[in-house]
C-alpha cells in the first residue's frame, strides 16, 4: 500500500509541476504559432520575471500572488515593446536574424541579472510556503495546487481570447495569412507585438506561481525553457491544447522517472518520451499533419 501511495503522490506532484511547465510552454507555443519564430529569450525572460517577484517581495513586501496583477500587465508591455522596438526592427524580416536577436536578448538579460544579483541562488519566504492540502492519503503542496488551478485558468482565458475576441481572431488570422489579414485592415506588426506580449505575460504569471516554492538564480530560466521546448514539440508546435497536455505529461514523466531512476535522472524520462514522439509522431501529439 505504501508503494501505491508514493506512486500516487509522485503522479500528483508531476501533474502540479506540469501545469506550470505548460504555462511556460504556452507562451512559447503562442509566439511560435503566430510569429513562426523560436524565442530564445523565453528562458531569460522567465528569470527576469522571477527576479521581479523576488525584488517585489524582499524590498516591498508584496506577496507573489498579489504581484501577478502588477507583473502580468508590466510584462505584457515589456514583450510588446521588445517585439515592436527591438526584435522586429532588428531582424529586417529575416527569420534567422530573429533567432540571433532573441538569443542576444537572452544573453543581455542573463548577464544583466548576473551583474546585479551575482550568481547566488535566492528564494523568498512566504508564510504559506510549506502548507499542504490533504487529499485522501496524499499531501499536496498548497502553492503548487494554486499554481495548477491558476495555470489552467490562464490557459482557459487565453483560449477564450483567441476563440471569441476580435483581437484573438486577428492573432489566429495573422498566424496563417499575413497578406489577407493586412487587407482586412489588421495592423500585422501590432498583432505580432500583442502576441509576443501575451507570451511574455504568461512568463510573469508562471514566475509568480513558481516563486513561493522555488528558488531563483540568473540561469534558472534555462532549465524550465528546455523542458518547455520539449513540451511545445511534444504537444505540436503552436497548439494551446497541446502545450497544456504536453506540460502535464512531461510533469508526470519527470516526476515518475525521478521516483524510479532517482531524482537527478528525472529529466531522462522527458527526453526519452520526446525521442519516441519525434520518431512516431513528428508533428507532435496535437499538431496538424504536415
Amino acid at each position: 500500500m505504501l508503494k501505491l501511495d508514493i506512486f500516487l503522490s509522485a503522479l500528483a506532484n508531476g501533474l502540479l509541476t506540469g501545469a506550470v511547465y505548460a504555462l511556460i510552454a504556452l507562451g512559447l507555443t503562442l509566439i511560435y504559432g503566430v510569429l513562426h519564430i523560436i524565442n530564445f529569450a523565453h528562458g531569460a525572460t522567465l528569470t527576469l520575471a522571477m527576479f521581479a517577484v523576488f525584488v517585489m517581495h524582499s524590498a516591498f513586501k508584496i506577496d507573489p500572488y498579489i504581484a501577478i496583477f502588477m507583473l502580468t500587465p508590466l510584462f505584457f508591455g515589456v514583450g510588446y515593446l521588445l517585439q515592436r522596438l527591438v526584435i522586429n526592427p532588428a531582424s529586417h524580416g529575416d527569420d534567422s536574424n530573429i533567432l540571433l536577436v532573441t538569443l542576444g536578448l537572452s544573453i543581455i538579460f542573463e548577464n544583466g541579472l548576473l551583474a546585479i544579483f551575482r550568481s547566488d541562488t535566492r528564494s523568498i519566504d512566504v508564510p504559506y510556503g510549506f502548507d499542504v492540502i490533504e487529499v485522501g492519503n496524499l499531501f499536496l503542496s498548497t502553492p503548487k495546487v494554486i499554481a495548477f488551478v491558476a495555470a489552467f485558468a490562464v490557459a482557459a482565458a487565453l483560449w477564450l481570447l483567441l476563440a471569441r475576441t476580435d483581437t484573438g481572431k486577428a492573432i489566429r488570422a495573422v498566424a496563417k495569412e499575413k497578406t489577407g489579414a493586412a487587407l482586412c485592415g489588421m495592423d500585422v506588426e501590432h498583432i505580432y507585438a500583442v502576441t509576443f506580449g501575451l507570451g511574455t505575460a504568461c512568463l510573469a504569471i508562471a514566475a509568480c506561481l513558481l516563486m513561493p516554492t522555488f528558488l531563483v538564480n540568473p540561469r534558472i530560466g534555462n532549465a524550465f525553457v528546455l523542458v518547455a521546448f520539449t513540451i511545445v514539440v511534444l504537444g505540436g508546435m503552436g497548439s494551446i491544447g497541446g502545450a497544456l497536455a504536453g506540460g502535464l505529461i512531461i510533469g508526470v514523466v519527470e516526476s515518475l522517472s525521478g521516483l524510479y531512476f532517482g531524482e537527478s535522472l528525472g529529466q531522462i524520462g522527458i527526453f526519452l518520451i520526446f525521442l519516441i514522439v519525434l520518431l512516431f509522431r513528428p508533428t507532435g501529439l496535437f499538431g496538424a499533419k504536415a
Binding site: 476580435d166 481572431k169 486577428a170 489566429r172 488570422a173 498566424a175 496563417k176 495569412e177 497578406t179 489577407g180 489579414a181 493586412a182 487587407l183 482586412c184 485592415g185 489588421m186 495592423d187
Partner: protein, 233 residues
C-alpha cells in the same frame, strides 16, 4: 473616385509599374486587363499599401493614399480582394467573414453578415466549416464576401476567375454584376478579357508596366489593337 497618376512601384528596387495612370469612376465596374506578368497584381498591391510606391500619386476620394499602410487604406473604404484569395484557412467561413469587418463597419457586422449570406447562399451552408477545406469557387466567394463585410466604397477584385471552371466563372461574373448593380464601384483586374469587358463601363489594358489602351469598355472590345496589345505583339 480613385485616381492613379504616373505610378511607379516594384520589388527590391526593380520597377514593375513604370508610370501607370487611370481613373476609376464611382458606381461602375472598371476593368484592368492584361496578360500574365504585366503588373496587374503589383498595381493592386501598391494601391492597397502592401508594397511601397516609389513614384507618382494615388488619390482616393480626393485624398492622397500613397504611403499609407493597409489598415489606413481599408479604413477609408478601399477594399482589395487579393489574387489567390488569401482567406484564413484555419478559421471557419463565418469567422473569415467577421474579420472582414475588423477595421470598418464593425457595428453593422451582423446585418452585413446576413447580406453577404443572401448574396452567397452557399457560404451560409458552410458557415461553420474551415475555410481552407472549401472548394476554389467557394473560397473565392468567401474572399469577396469578406471584402463586402467592410462596406467598401471601392472593391478591387484581383483575378477572381483564376483557377475556376468556366461554369463557375460564369456564375461569379453574374454575382459581380449584381454587386455592382447595387451601386458599388468595382475595379476588376482580370485576364479574362471578353467577360470583363461585358461587365465594365470603362477599361484599361496594361502591358509592360504601363497603360497601353484605355477607354469605354464597349469601344475597347471593338478595338482591333486590343488583341495585338494584349498578346504583346
Amino acid at each position: 473616385m480613385l485616381e492613379v497618376r504616373g505610378l511607379v512601384a516594384g520589388y527590391g528596387g526593380v520597377p514593375i509599374l513604370r508610370g501607370v495612370s487611370l481613373d476609376v469612376a464611382p458606381g461602375a465596374v472598371y476593368a484592368v486587363l492584361g496578360a500574365n506578368g504585366v503588373g496587374k497584381t503589383t498595381l493592386n498591391r501598391a494601391i492597397s499599401g502592401l508594397i511601397p510606391v516609389s513614384g507618382g500619386t494615388i488619390t482616393f476620394e480626393g485624398e492622397r493614399i500613397d504611403g499609407l499602410k493597409p489598415p489606413a487604406i481599408v479604413e477609408r473604404g478601399l477594399i482589395h480582394v487579393p489574387e489567390g484569395r488569401k482567406i484564413f484557412p484555419n478559421m471557419s467561413v463565418r469567422e473569415n467573414l467577421e474579420l472582414g469587418s475588423y477595421r470598418r463597419a464593425k457595428p453593422r457586422r451582423s446585418a452585413n453578415l446576413e447580406k453577404v449570406f443572401a448574396t452567397f447562399p452557399r457560404l451560409r451552408e458552410r458557415e461553420m466549416q474551415f475555410a481552407g477545406t472549401r472548394s476554389g469557387g467557394e473560397q473565392q466567394m468567401l474572399a469577396i464576401g469578406r471584402g463586402l463585410m467592410a462596406e467598401p466604397k471601392l472593391l478591387i477584385l484581383d483575378e477572381p476567375s483564376l483557377g475556376l471552371s468556366p461554369l463557375l466563372v460564369e456564375e461569379l461574373f453574374v454575382l459581380i454584376a449584381r454587386i455592382a448593380a447595387e451601386g458599388l464601384a468595382v475595379m476588376l483586374v482580370e485576364q479574362n478579357v471578353v467577360q470583363s469587358l461585358e461587365l465594365a463601363a470603362e477599361a484599361s489594358v496594361l502591358a509592360n508596366g504601363t497603360v497601353v489602351l484605355s477607354g469605354p469598355a464597349a469601344e475597347l472590345s471593338r478595338d482591333p489593337d486590343l488583341e495585338k496589345t494584349y498578346l504583346g505583339m
